[in-house]
């Protein structure tokens, strides 16, 4: 080997190619470890949530009686009264589920069609300039805090929209707080979510399918409604599910404009209580730690957590499979 012209660059580190236990390597390993711990934080969060909820509601540790040791699962699921703060305590979750179902159902009726139709408009009809106006507006709508929507529902939707139409026009009695207002407001909140998720899904449908449609003599309506939407159906359903789970977990807007009265009712014009509003009100009222009311909070939160997690998970699975189809 020629050694007459030494490399002018300074030698740094070891010149051997073999792995050595150098300081540099140790530092790399350390950094990797720290970053891994950061990634673990999210897993630990989930595990802690599950533990906390299970501990107070199900797990029978010595010297601690969980919620379901004091209230039977049967009563919890089938009793039709929810009266934790009364002397005669009942813990039937049906009224809370009913409230949540009303709000979610109404929000779905408002938010899902509006969101889907907006998504179709943005992905199929609107030119780039209109899209560049609409996208930020929808982001803005999605970024408004839920308490603002609550205020809007309580002091605007109910007195200036629902009362004049339903009471003035049709003669129904409309409560100052009611499930309908809550549902409408939550619907307006989830609409941007549906719009942006569904738009992504619609845009993932290959352009070649649209072209094939046009080549068969289809109008824009035919292509949008009979080709693109059916092709994206599973993805759209996933976005619906995700949005509805947002509705199930929505708290402040519902607390403000849907009331705080647990009722098993078929009338959406009276105050109700959802699972989330129960939790907020109970915590605000300083439930005594260790009391049965306190433990009931965790049981309700467990139901809420399970429902939303399941909806999210299914939606993620569908979306993942959907993305694999169109790649």
């Amino acid at each position: 080997m020629a050694q007459s012209a030494p490399n002018p660059a300074p030698a740094f580190g070891s010149s051997s190619l073999r792995k050595s236990a150098s300081w540099l390597r140790a530092k790399e390993m350390l950094i990797r470890g720290v970053l891994f711990c950061c990634a673990l934080v999210s897993v630990i969060t989930t595990l802690t949530i599950i533990f906390v909820l299970l501990y107070e509601s199900i797990l029978p540790f010595p010297g601690h009686s969980p919620f379901f040791a004091e209230v039977s699962v049967r009563d919890f699921l089938l009793d039709t009264k929810w009266t934790p703060q009364y002397a005669d305590k009942h813990f039937g979750i049906m009224p809370l589920v009913c409230g949540t179902a009303w709000v979610t159902f109404i929000s779905g009726c408002v938010g899902l069609p509006l969101g889907l139709v907006s998504a179709i408009y943005m992905s199929e009809y609107a030119g780039p300039r209109r899209r560049s106006v609409l996208k930020p507006v929808l982001e803005l709508l999605a970024g408004i805090p839920t308490i603002v929507y609550g205020y809007f529902g309580l002091f605007f939707v109910t007195p200036y929209v629902l009362r004049p139409i339903l009471h003035g026009g049709l003669g129904f009695t409309v409560g100052g707080a009611n499930a309908l207002a809550g549902g409408i407001v939550v619907g307006l909140m989830i609409m941007p979510l549906v719009a942006s998720l569904s738009e992504d899904v619609l845009r993932a449908v290959p352009k070649s399918l649209r072209e094939a449609g046009y080549a068969l003599g289809a109008t824009k309506f035919d292509v949008s409604v009979k080709i693109v939407v059916p092709s994206a159906l599973s993805g759209i359903l996933a976005s619906f599910l995700l949005a509805l789970s947002r509705g199930v977990g929505e708290t402040m807007a519902v607390t403000l404009c849907a009331g705080n009265l647990p009722q098993l009712t078929a009338n959406p014009l009276i105050p109700i209580q959802t699972m989330t509003t129960f939790i907020v009100n109970m915590m605000k009222g300083d439930a005594v730690v260790g009391s049965i009311e306190y433990k009931s909070l965790y049981a309700v939160a467990l139901v809420l957590f399970t429902v939303t997690l399941t909806m999210n998970y299914i939606s993620q699975l569908i979306l993942q499979r959907y993305r694999e189809v169109y790649q």
Binding site: A212, A215, G217
Partner: protein
């Protein structure tokens, strides 16, 4: 490079030219012209993709368009049923006549035009629906809803596309489950179902294996009895095998057009010869 394409006559200038420059007019040899393109130009924004195209496409025959990639042959094909309208900022100059009617006239309904001029794409594009629904799509949006009529029509088109025997027992299965060659024949059947007069094919066999390619070629041979077919292909042997007429595109111009046999044996232009013999492209 010449601005007007030269035609390759049977023996020099004795036979009437098939396709003429902008200056002269004359009858086409094989039947009457289905498409007539006069002095056509095409722009993507300010970029000119096609310049001064003059071409007659004869009825009930196969016309092949060949040329190096990016030469504008696909753009030209897509302008025959105005598929380029979908792309923003495109513009056509000159005229394209279908049976003597300008398809770029302001009162032309693009939807009706595309029903008459069907198209098959390079990549098979089955809709994620059943085989039956794929073929029935065109007739359904056109207003045909009677199930018995639809069934007959679907069967007829699948038979025409030589796919019936393979799928007749699973018409309700998803079209996505078919093989690549079957999907492409399904797309042909789907295009036939709107009862078009012209079929435009954009490299329909380029993504297929040799056996499937051979089936598609046989199919094209069958279909030309009833349909005018324009096919873009990068495969010269294919053009030679299936087409009666060939146009050679290069750099956005139609360099030469003529009877396929003539063009492949005795091209008039140096560029054509270079391309066909594989010296460039």
């Amino acid at each position: 490079m010449s601005t007007a394409p030269k035609s390759t006559g049977m023996s020099g200038s004795a036979t009437p030219p098939l396709v003429l420059g902008a200056a002269s007019q004359g009858p086409a040899p094989a039947g009457k012209p289905k498409f007539e393109t006069r002095g056509m130009g095409f722009f993507y924004g300010s970029h000119q993709a096609l310049t001064e195209i003059n071409l007659l496409i004869p009825e009930k025959a196969v016309t092949a368009l060949i040329g190096p990639s990016g030469c504008g042959k696909s753009t030209y094909l897509r302008s025959l049923n105005r598929m380029n309208d979908i792309i923003d900022g495109t513009r056509v100059t000159g005229s394209v006549l279908l049976d003597g009617e300008d398809i770029y006239a302001p009162d032309v309904d693009v939807v009706a035009l595309r029903k008459r001029v069907g198209m098959v794409f390079q990549k098979s594009t089955p809709f994620p629906k059943s085989i039956f629904d794929n073929v029935a799509f065109g007739p359904r949006i056109g207003g045909l809803n009677k199930l018995s009529e639809l069934k007959d029509l679907v069967e007829h088109c699948l038979k025409q596309a030589a796919l019936w025997n393979e799928v007749k027992d699973r018409l309700r299965d998803s079209a996505m489950a078919l093989s690549g060659g079957q999907q492409q024949r399904l797309c042909i059947a789907r295009a036939l179902a709107t009862n078009p007069e012209v079929l435009l094919m954009d490299e329909p066999a380029s993504a297929l294996d040799p056996a499937s390619t051979a089936r598609i070629e046989d199919l094209i041979f069958e279909l030309k009895q009833n349909y005018t077919i324009v096919i873009v292909t990068h495969n010269m042997q294919q053009a030679a095998r299936i087409s009666e007429f060939t146009g050679f595109f290069c750099l956005g111009r139609l360099v030469e057009v003529g009877q396929t046999k003539q063009m492949f044996t005795n091209p008039a232009e140096k560029e054509t010869e270079d391309y066909i013999t594989g010296r460039f492209g």
